[in-house]
């Protein structure tokens, strides 16, 4: 940076050094940002920085349990959990239980999300259906899903059906409520403009109403996925022979806290993975929102 001090003399100022400023007293003005500007923040990548918290948590957990402050019967140390996981994996048990849980979740979600979307589309588009169905759905929504457990067992027995049914019921509601609200929230001005361009009912739904409801649907889907794993944990601990929940319940009998924690970790990972799937869906389905022209 070159600052001309007096005619003919140029004073070189090293980059980054503060330019001599007029004392505030003279002009009554001050620099808008008094500190150093253009400074780069720490060069550690953000993803690495974000890992510090969880790693610290595991370290504290290990220190407390291995050091004897907390006994292994109360909470197994992370190393034991890892070993238990490895053993169960090598025996092929973990995969079998995981697959059983995934199957139930997928079936339940498939049914629940389909029913939710279908119902929301019908009630969102037809006022008569809305008046007939929506109040009933809103009342049923207030019933806690897990409270239905005894009834579901009586209806569907003790096989796979009650577990799938419970997940389906629990996921249909958030999908329905959010999709319904989103359809109703589609800008009437857009619908009006589209009708002036000759769009009739079918194409209006396809081009205007349903795409406009996608953001709301995805919110509902997110709730549904979280809810699905929550319901699975409970449903699999009752009358199940397979599944992560069963694995944990069985471990309880033998005081195997390492396997119980392993089950929790698996549920956590499943939750993260499903959340990532929704985020990926959002990125592809809602690319118009980000506003980039990328094709």
């Amino acid at each position: 940076m070159t600052v001309v001090d007096a005619p003919g003399t140029a004073v070189l100022v090293p980059p980054g050094a503060a330019v001599p400023a007029a004392p505030p007293a003279e002009t009554g003005l001050q620099e808008a940002w008094p500190g150093r500007r253009g400074r780069r923040s720490l060069t550690i990548p953000r993803s690495v920085r974000r890992l510090v918290g969880p790693l610290l948590l595991v370290a504290v957990w290990q220190a407390l349990t291995a050091g004897g402050v907390v006994s292994a019967r109360t909470l197994a140390p992370p190393a034991d959990v890892y070993r238990a996981g490895l053993e169960l994996w090598q025996a092929g048990e973990l995969q079998a239980h995981l697959l059983a849980s995934l199957r139930r979740a997928a079936a339940g979600l498939g049914i629940g999300v389909s029913v939710g979307v279908l119902l929301a589309t019908i009630t969102g588009l037809l006022r008569l259906a809305d008046d007939l169905v929506d109040p009933a759905v809103q009342v049923l929504r207030a019933v806690p899903v897990l409270g239905l457990l005894p009834l579901v067992i009586i209806w569907f027995g003790i096989g796979e059906a009650p577990k799938i049914a419970l997940v389906a019921i629990g996921t249909a509601f958030p999908v329905y409520v959010n999709t319904h609200a989103a359809i109703r929230g589609v800008d009437a001005k857009l619908v009006e403009a589209a009708t002036t361009f000759g769009l009739r009912r079918g194409s209006l739904i396809r081009h205007v109403v349903l795409p406009g409801a996608v953001p709301g649907f995805l919110v509902g889907l997110r709730f549904a996925l979280t809810g699905a794993w929550l319901i699975m944990i409970v449903a699999e601990q009752i009358n199940a022979k397979t599944g992560i929940g069963f694995l944990m319940n069985e471990a309880r009998v033998w005081f195997r806290t390492d396997i119980i924690v392993l089950g929790l970790v698996v549920y956590g990972v499943l939750g993260l993975v499903t959340d990532g799937i929704v985020r990926l869906l959002e990125r592809t389905l809602l690319s118009w929102r980000r506003g980039f022209a990328g094709s």
Partner: protein, 249 residues
Amino acid sequence: MSQTIGLADEAVATPAPRPGGPAVVLRDVRRRFGSRVVLDGIDLDIGRDEFVALLGRSGSGKSTLLRALAGLDPDYEGSVQVPAARSVVFQEPRLLPWRRVLQNVVLGLPRGARARRQGAAALTEVGLSDHVGAWPATLSGGEAQRVALARALVREPALLLLDEPFGALDALTRLRMHRLLQDLCARHAPAVLLVTHDVDEAISLADRILVLDGGRITVDRRVELDRPRERTDPRTEALRAELLVSLGV
């Protein structure tokens, strides 16, 4: 410069319809919202390539009239005869945010290469050939409104309805849009009804200016000034002053 200022019933007869018959024929059009009468017996003919500006204070019923012409209002009384090929440009662009620019332009046209070609040509006409694949969210206000114009014109409307289409734009963009609109209208020659509250906009664009007041057309006036119409021209100034009086300013 011919002048025809008069009451509604007198006004209809005065401007001679263009050859080829009128594009719009309104007879005794009335519209009530509850007990409030918004349109109180409108008679109006608009010629085939006539550019008509409809002025009026806010709440004077100009948009109500436009909505009736656009086929967005089933509850008017009287007779509203309009061509089948109509397009509307609203104050907001009203583009579908989840469809790219070209898809917005060809919305509702029969799908295919022909529609895409026409849509691309319309976008070229409004100077947006580079934005064919852009998302509406990336456009500026003026660009979005140009897309809305392209979407209206790609249908080759016999009647183009403009509901304060430049009201939300900045002054510079508005002037540029005026010039663009004049070019487009010269090329496509639709009948145009421009609803506006901007007297200068009406004077610079229209062949004929109407003032709507109390649900009736109180002024129906040909503008026979040469184009481009200079704001400083004394005749323009006289016309502006006169229109402002009739708007109660």
